[in-house]
Subunit: 285 residues, 2 copies
């Protein structure tokens, strides 16, 4: 049983975790921390948190687990604000979509890397953001990737694992740098393509007419372009090299396709599409 | 009431039209034409068509409406096979995702452009293909774009409009070349991006692991990469210049994004993502 859980950043991800743990009775008390009081009041009203505390340092003092659930770019300043306030026994974790940069931000912010800091990343989300979108079942049946550090103590690792299992997720571990590469491919690249597709269409003259004729495939395809821009700015700034590498691969493959279209090479086009369809059908169904 | 409807190409699109019209009682008899007898037998078994005829020329002789529902690349050879067989009163239409090239294929295949040929494009589809995927409600509430020709007679235009309305769709008209540009943006480009994303991921070493960690956003994003490869080869070959233009726009926007990531320009990234999100939320919800 978690006595006191502190969620710093009460949005979709942190709020859904709080709801799931409260629902499953895994947690006695959830404290929310946020820069904006209004968000905290809404979170309390929605039953996502029990209380809120504006002073992050005071909030974390007696916590069992502190979850950093802000956008990745806010991790360092948040950690500075709780510098010297963490108990030795308090477990610290995060939910960021990049891991190497988060570990560095925690180290910089706190001035050291606590043995109790276990980096984590739930592979779940919605295109909507904010505490109003939080739901208790967001993590049901989803994967959470832990990227434990060599210095981690086993108790801390177990606490974070158990917490996510109680929220309905299945926990796996992965090397930190490998995580950042895998996610650049499966999550960061698709988000950037969706944002860019909407950008490209938006600059056409008849943009409103254009979007009217979009079929359901287009809606599915661009749904993730409605995700939180701050979160995605921070991911781009903090997972630069794996993202640029994937954009490079993608650019080469687009060039190959372009050449096949330009030269009217039907066999090449067919083989590209058949291969992609085979892979997609095999892996996603 | 349509006395005899002939569907040439009994797949998802043609089959769903047949089912919708049979269900709504708008049609007395549906004849299927396909190169493969097995497909026709399955279509008959599934109640999609009443009969089938292997000789396309014989099939169209007494038809009220003939629908060309093959991939775009098969339009010219199919039209050659019915050359001289069309009655003056028979209405001819198609369902292709490109229009200018289809009109040219019909002209070449038949040797002339019939006054009764009304090009049409239902904005509907599924990632699955084949007659087994056909459903009577595929066009319910969807748009069908007609791109009538200057030489069209009004009766033919009305017949095709009425047919699609009876299948549950709402009918609009558009200039042929404009259609091809709009669809390059809203349909062809997203499909090519989805195929290419899967291609780029498939060439990574750990491809199976990679796809395991794809979240639901990725599945939505790449669903259209399971579409029929032959159909998409034909679309690429027959809507070259609008597609290459859109790929060009997209490439420029990706380059702008890449530069912002490389230089760590957070403000530029935020403004790109915010703008895309605004447009997407405004136009797709």
């Amino acid at each position: 049983m978690i006595n006191r859980l502190v969620i710093i950043g009460v949005g979709l991800i942190g709020g859904s975790l709080a709801l799931a743990l409260r629902n499953s009775g895994a947690c006695r008390e959830v404290i929310g921390v946020e820069p904006e009081v209004e968000t905290l009041q809404r979170a309390q009203k929605l039953g996502v948190i029990d209380h809120f505390v504006l002073d992050a340092c005071a909030a974390v003092r007696e916590a069992d687990i502190v979850v950093l659930a802000t956008p990745v770019g806010a991790i360092a300043p948040v950690c500075r604000s709780i510098r010297g306030c963490l108990d030795d026994r308090t477990v610290l974790t995060d939910v960021g979509s990049v891991k190497a940069a988060v570990v560095e931000s925690v180290r910089k912010g706190l001035g050291y890397l606590p043995k109790n800091f276990v980096p984590a990343h739930p592979i779940a989300g919605l295109e909507s953001s904010g505490v109003e979108s939080a739901t208790a079942n967001l993590y049901q049946g989803r994967r959470v990737i832990l990227t434990p550090l060599p210095e981690n103590n086993l108790n801390a690792f177990d606490s974070v694992s158990r917490m996510w299992e109680q929220a309905g997720a299945s926990v796996e571990t992965m090397d930190m740098l490998h995580h950042d590469q895998v996610l650049a491919a499966t999550s960061h690249l698709p988000h950037l393509l969706a944002y860019t597709l909407v950008t490209s269409l938006a600059r056409l003259n008849e943009q409103d007419e254009i979007f009217r004729y979009a079929a359901s495939g287009f809606r599915d395809f661009t749904r993730i372009a409605s995700s939180d821009p701050i979160m995605w700015r921070d991911i781009c700034l903090n997972n630069k090299s794996p993202i640029l590498q994937m954009l490079g691969h993608f650019g080469e493959d687009i060039d190959r396709l372009k050449k096949a279209i330009e030269s009217g090479d039907g066999n090449q086009l067919l083989s590209i599409f058949q291969h992609a369809k085979q892979v997609r059908d095999r892996t996603c169904n």
